[in-house]
């Protein structure tokens, strides 16, 4: 595909007197507007004894702000047929608005209203907190979630990335208005960026600023700063569960988006886990029929991002699946991928970038993420160029540096756990 990823959008730097950068991606086509306000400090910014605070606060921002009660706000937003969501991920709290362009004038002021004047009434806090507690409980039904939570603890311990953004039950229960007010004051202070994409109304800065009224917002330009680190290495953890399948997650902590070798690792991700021709899909599913769902989880992060291979397999094939999965990881450390494999990985990397920019929301989302990480506007284009210059040896070096000692997390029936543990115990990866 083409070298530049923003061919259909005209990029403009919005002008206003806030520190938070404002970017406007004008797109022809449908009269739709998408806005993404990315504010650093998601669940990784939760105070140590208040895990779950960022997500709880995020859920409350639309339950009353500025002149609107929660009901009034819902009436306004839903009455326009719009979507307005606020969620905390590990690195950031993200407010997303998607609406018909005609409705933008009444909806855009909400963004800064939510950030600067949330009501945080006790009754709504109690409701939102209860909903988050229930969701945490329900997630335990999913063996993938159980294995994933367990791996997160292996990789990050009690560190900033060590908990689900929804929080930790005992701490979430204690979160009150006072704690949330403190959190709310910090929104945007550690760096924020606002990206609008689609058909953008004229006078957009004024519309946005109308939400501030007489208040001020002390936001900052996102900087390149060191993010949370990983802690664990090479451990095994198991959760017995009466399931049909064994879930396996093999992973380690790596490096932030934009760091040295992050791009090489991204290409390894494409090689291993993107598409039906990917290495894991072919080796584990097509050649051995060991799994239906197999892949790689490697989100972009400000800190040491996880890099995880995952699959689920029938309990009676646990030994084979474990051995093959460990072999695949070992293979990355032992030998470089072939030039043809690198070529395919590059095609996927380019394809992913282009396919991920079909809608205004996708476009705004990706740009907000990049800018929120303190990276330049043309980061994606630069990455495409830089990726083309990488060699199989570069990728091999990145694997040896970043993927040396993975942890294994298992969830499933005890017979399968024992079979998998035996494979782990005797595998070269665990006995270097």
């Amino acid at each position: 595909m083409r070298a530049t990823l923003l061919p259909a959008a005209q990029v403009e730097r919005g002008v206003w007197d806030l520190n938070c950068p404002l970017w406007l991606l004008h797109r022809p086509g449908a009269p739709i507007l998408s806005a993404k306000l990315w504010m650093r400090g998601g669940s990784a910014g939760d105070p140590g004894d208040q895990r779950g605070a960022a997500q709880l606060l995020a859920g409350l921002l639309s339950r009353g702000c500025g002149p609107y009660s929660g009901d009034a706000l819902a009436d306004l937003v839903e009455g326009c047929g719009a979507g307005l969501r606020c969620e905390a991920a590990e690195d950031a709290t993200l407010i997303s608005l998607k609406c018909a362009s005609d409705d933008a004038p009444v909806l855009l002021p909400l963004l800064l209203q939510m950030v600067c004047s949330p009501w945080l009434v006790d009754d709504q806090i109690a409701l939102e907190r209860q909903l988050n507690l229930q969701t945490l409980q329900r997630q335990r039904e999913d063996p993938f979630q159980v294995a994933h939570d367990q791996l997160r603890e292996q990789l990050y311990g009690q560190g900033p990335y060590g908990h689900d953004p929804l929080g930790v039950e005992a701490e979430l229960r204690r979160l009150d208005r006072e704690a949330l007010l403190l959190q709310a004051e910090q929104l945007g202070q550690r760096g924020a960026v606002l990206v609008l994409a689609g058909q953008i109304p004229t006078g957009v800065s004024e519309l946005l600023l109308a939400g501030l009224g007489d208040l001020s917002w002390t936001s900052q330009v996102p900087q390149r700063l060191a993010g949370p680190r990983g802690s664990g290495s090479c451990s095994l953890a198991t959760s017995p569960d009466e399931t049909e399948q064994l879930v396996l997650m093999l992973g380690t902590t790596t490096t932030p988006l934009g760091a040295d070798q992050a791009l090489a690792l991204r290409l390894l991700h494409c090689h291993l886990g993107i598409g039906m021709s990917s290495r894991l899909f072919v080796a584990l599913r097509e050649e051995h029929g060991l799994a239906y769902d197999v892949g790689v989880h490697h989100p972009a992060r400000l800190g040491d991002a996880p890099f995880v291979m995952h699959l689920s397999t029938s309990a009676d094939r646990a030994a084979d699946a474990t051995r093959e999965l460990l072999n695949e990881w070992q293979r990355l450390l032992q030998q470089p991928i072939s030039p043809a494999e690198l070529e395919l990985a590059l095609a996927k990397f380019r394809g992913q970038e282009a396919l991920g920019r079909q809608t205004s929301s996708q476009l705004a989302d990706r740009q907000a993420l990049v800018l929120g990480h303190g990276l330049p506007m043309d980061f994606a284009d630069r990455s495409l160029e830089a990726a083309a210059a990488l060699s199989p040896e570069d990728l091999h070096r990145a694997a040896r540096t970043l993927l040396a000692r993975p942890c294994l997390s298992l969830c499933g029936p005890s017979s399968a756990l024992r079979a998998a543990e035996r494979q782990w115990g005797r595998h070269a990866l665990n006995n270097p």
Binding site: G81, C99, A100, Q137, V282, D293, S314, A354, T359
Partner: protein, 435 residues
């Protein structure tokens, strides 16, 4: 049921007033009866090619349980011209991707490609889908993958509960049977039987090829090329097509204990007119949105916001040919389950008596309308919409759903659709953790 693990797509729902003209689908017939539909989206960065066939699980005989979906897997194991995995490799090396999905009514296979590579992908896709090799060794291996897919879904208690709801609500109708199939049947399937299923159903008059994206990239003479492709060369069927019977959902009540369930579920199912009645489909979208989409919808407001009985409550319209299904799911504590059921019934009874206000209706209309408009941003969802419509001989354009949406008013909803969602017309399943 997708070949690759993906999230459930919301059903195509619907738009708003600030209308600019929407692109028109161009439909034509190949000489053997296969349908081609193209829709030009000049701004889209990719082309979607979507092949549809009326060969969903509802076409299976009892012995064929799961074979429609299993065949969808086997297709990617190669054809007379393509080795196993070669299709994936060639599509992905060109920067594209592919997937497929089997439903009750139909199956579709789609690729997303950079415009300049879309022509190459077209021939590959048609050859793959229409001349599958069904190699016995690959067949045994892929059976394992399908069994893993089944096991994976059985480990999600929520999916088990939904399957049980459909089984009891739909009686002997195919919609009550799992698309993935019964384990015992899957273990017994043979390539020959699958080949017969393919020959019986993959016939030109039951197929539709949809293309959406910047079509200027595709050289002229497409029609001519298609006549010579695997699709154009396909021979029409000799037997008349046997359409599955209409659904007749049985109202009722059941309780189910499930291991590994953490929160209780209230599941309910109702039947609405089938997809052929598109006006009703739009009305159903409007009604379910009014009831359960957003904080100010009746069910969410009452059960989650005011009474605080549920963690979540959803009401989805599943558009199906033999009768649409409206499915409700409420997630709550076991102790609250009876109160939740009572309150859901109460809200629905009130709905029978109290027509929606104009504000409620307008809210729902805007939500449904914008949802539809937003979905038109993506070539893949446009291709799926026009492909699926043409497959079932519905020739309306993209604007029509918006017009139907405008036509519904409170009186018509109250008269035509609300009675169909009466509590006594539902099958209701309570799923609780094993004590």
């Amino acid at each position: 049921m997708d070949r690759a693990h993906t999230c459930h797509q919301p059903l195509p729902s619907l738009p708003s007033a600030a209308d600019q003209a929407l692109p028109e689908p161009q439909q034509e017939q190949l000489s053997n009866g296969a349908t081609l539909v193209q829709i030009d989206l000049p701004q889209a960065p990719v082309v979607c090619i979507d092949f549809w066939c009326r060969a969903g699980s509802a076409r299976e005989t009892l012995e064929e349980s799961g074979i429609a979906h299993f065949l969808e897997h086997m297709v990617f194991k190669g054809s007379q011209q393509l080795a196993a995995g070669e299709f994936d490799y060639r599509v992905e090396a060109l920067g594209g991707n592919s997937n497929a999905a089997t439903g009750f009514d139909d199956v579709h296979y789609h690729v997303l490609m950079p415009p300049e590579a879309s022509e190459a992908a077209l021939d590959l896709l048609l050859n793959l889908v229409l001349q599958p090799r069904l190699d016995p060794q690959d067949f045994d291996l892929e059976r394992q993958v399908v069994l893993e897919e089944l096991a994976q879904s059985e480990d999600q208690p929520e999916e088990v509960a939904f399957q049980e709801l459909l089984r009891q609500a739909c009686g002997s109708h195919a919609y009550g049977q799992p698309i993935l199939g019964q384990r015992a049947a899957l273990e017994g399937h043979e390539p020959d039987a699958m080949a017969r299923f393919h020959q019986r159903h993959y016939r030109p008059e039951r197929c539709c090829l949809a293309m959406a994206g910047p079509l200027a990239a595709i050289p002229s003479g497409l029609r001519e090329r298609l006549e010579h492709s695997s699709l154009g060369q396909l021979r029409p069927g000799t037997e008349p097509e046997q359409n599955p019977a209409q659904l007749a959902l049985t109202p009722g009540q059941a309780r189910l204990e499930l291991p590994r369930l953490e929160a209780a579920r209230l599941l309910m199912a109702w039947q609405l007119p089938g997809a052929a009645d598109q006006r009703s489909v739009l009305g159903g979208d409007l009604l379910t949105t009014l009831l359960a989409e957003g904080r100010r919808s009746r069910l969410v407001e009452r059960l989650r916001e005011q009474l605080r009985l549920v963690e979540s409550i959803d009401l989805d319209l599943n558009v199906l040919e033999c009768g649409c299904l409206v499915l409700l799911e409420a997630v709550c504590e076991v102790e609250q389950l009876n109160a939740v059921e009572q309150e859901v019934r109460q809200v629905l009874l009130e709905m029978q008596e109290q027509p929606p206000s104009s504000a409620e209706l307008e809210r729902a209309r805007r939500l449904v309308g914008n949802g539809y408009r937003f979905s038109l941003e993506v070539a893949g969802s446009v291709a799926a919409m026009v492909g699926n419509s043409q497959l079932w001989q519905r020739t309306h354009n993209l604007q029509a759903p918006l017009d139907w949406l405008e036509q519904w008013d409170a009186t018509a909803l109250q008269r035509d659709l609300v009675p169909l969602l009466a509590p006594e017309r539902a099958f209701c399943l309570q799923a609780v953790p094993v004590p």
